[in-house]
Amino acid sequence: MIEFRLNGKPVAFDGNPLKRLLDVLRDDFGITGTKEGCGEGECGACSVLKDGKLVTSCIIPVGAVGGCDIVTIEGLRDTEQGKCLVESFAEGGAVQCGFCIPGMVMAAQALLLKNPHPTEADVRLAISGNICRCTGYDLIVESILLASRKGEGLW
């Protein structure tokens, strides 16, 4: 039995500890905001926060998250920080097809938790593990900078 916290609530998973965290989230807990883009830890679409750290859930076995605090996009978006990010992404035109976006928002959150006032270079580094094919990144970067300005005091 693997026990951990998922979006603030204690949960338990009683299955193969080698099952990918991504699959446990999507199939066993039914929360599908976290996406699979590559299955090899390269694209960042599966990003979640594990004890505040940005990780790729497609290459993490669920057995490795026992006792950890896992936050997915579903958990983030209902918080004040999450709402600020979601609004900024919408206002800033960050979204084209949308597939990379949950991962991008998680990466933005990981950045702002450490650095509430990032520079453009800081933002580009923070999302360098999240691949986007549609947007060319500029509007995503601007949206994250917008969130850090709008969200004064949130982080």
Partner: protein
């Protein structure tokens, strides 16, 4: 439609497209839906606007082929394409002559797409297309050996990240197309063209070499210098 009728977007209801209901109207290509269907929607909304005071109104518009562009559907002869998008791209690079690493210092594009309907969305599309074009020029090596791709996973087919290219400068030329909704033409594929050639041209000029292939990833540049 919402914009022309001056109502909220939520007040406009449309059926999800269903091939049970609609006739075969040809391929979805070259943004013809934006121009043809968009313009039909616009013209219908203009007529509907006259009737906004009534309880209930129905409007139907037919496609009208623009004058001066003859097309014979039975012989497939004439002007097949009525509108063209145009663009220009400029790329500035710095090349390290010891390692051959290329740093893109600036990217500038301009496009004539008639008039953007939603500028924010189109801005994103330009950035995306230009980035894909630069990736194609700079890093997206894809080799085929006996029918198998040698680069077949995210780890080895390399596409740009947020750190590979700087923020882009772009602008749109305002040149409304008379038969597109609000003057719009298509732009989806257009934005891929140009930046790739500009990148290769810039590297050629920086090193005084000639490139006859694309991509020119860093590891291949030394070979081109010989």
């Amino acid at each position: 439609v919402a914009s022309t009728l001056e109502v909220g977007m939520d007040d406009v209801i449309f059926d999800a497209p269903n091939t049970d209901m609609v006739p075969d109207s040809g391929p979805t290509a070259a943004s013809r839906s934006t121009m043809v269907v968009g313009n039909l929607g616009y013209r219908a909304a203009l007529q509907m606007k006259e009737k906004m005071g009534e309880e209930h109104a129905e409007v139907e518009v037919q496609y009208e082929h623009p004058e001066g562009h003859p097309w014979d559907q039975s012989t497939f002869k004439g002007d097949a394409y009525l509108g063209y998008g145009w663009g220009a791209a400029c790329v500035e690079v710095e090349v390290d002559k010891i390692t051959n690493e290329v740093t893109v210092k600036g990217i500038w594009t301009s496009h004539d797409i008639g008039r953007p309907i939603d500028e924010l969305i189109v801005h994103g599309q330009v950035n995306g297309g230009v980035m894909q074009s630069l990736g194609y020029a700079a890093m997206e090596k894809m080799e085929n050996r006996k029918g198998h791709f040698r680069q077949s996973s995210m780890s080895d087919y390399v596409i740009p990240t947020s750190m590979d290219f700087p923020k882009q400068e772009y602008f749109f030329v305002d040149n409304p197309y008379p038969w597109g909704p609000f003057g719009a033409k298509g732009m989806g594929e257009l934005v891929f063209n140009g930046a790739d050639a500009a990148y290769v041209d810039a590297v050629e000029r920086a090193l005084g070499i000639s490139c006859h292939k694309i991509p020119i990833p860093v590891e291949d540049i030394e070979g081109l210098r010989k």
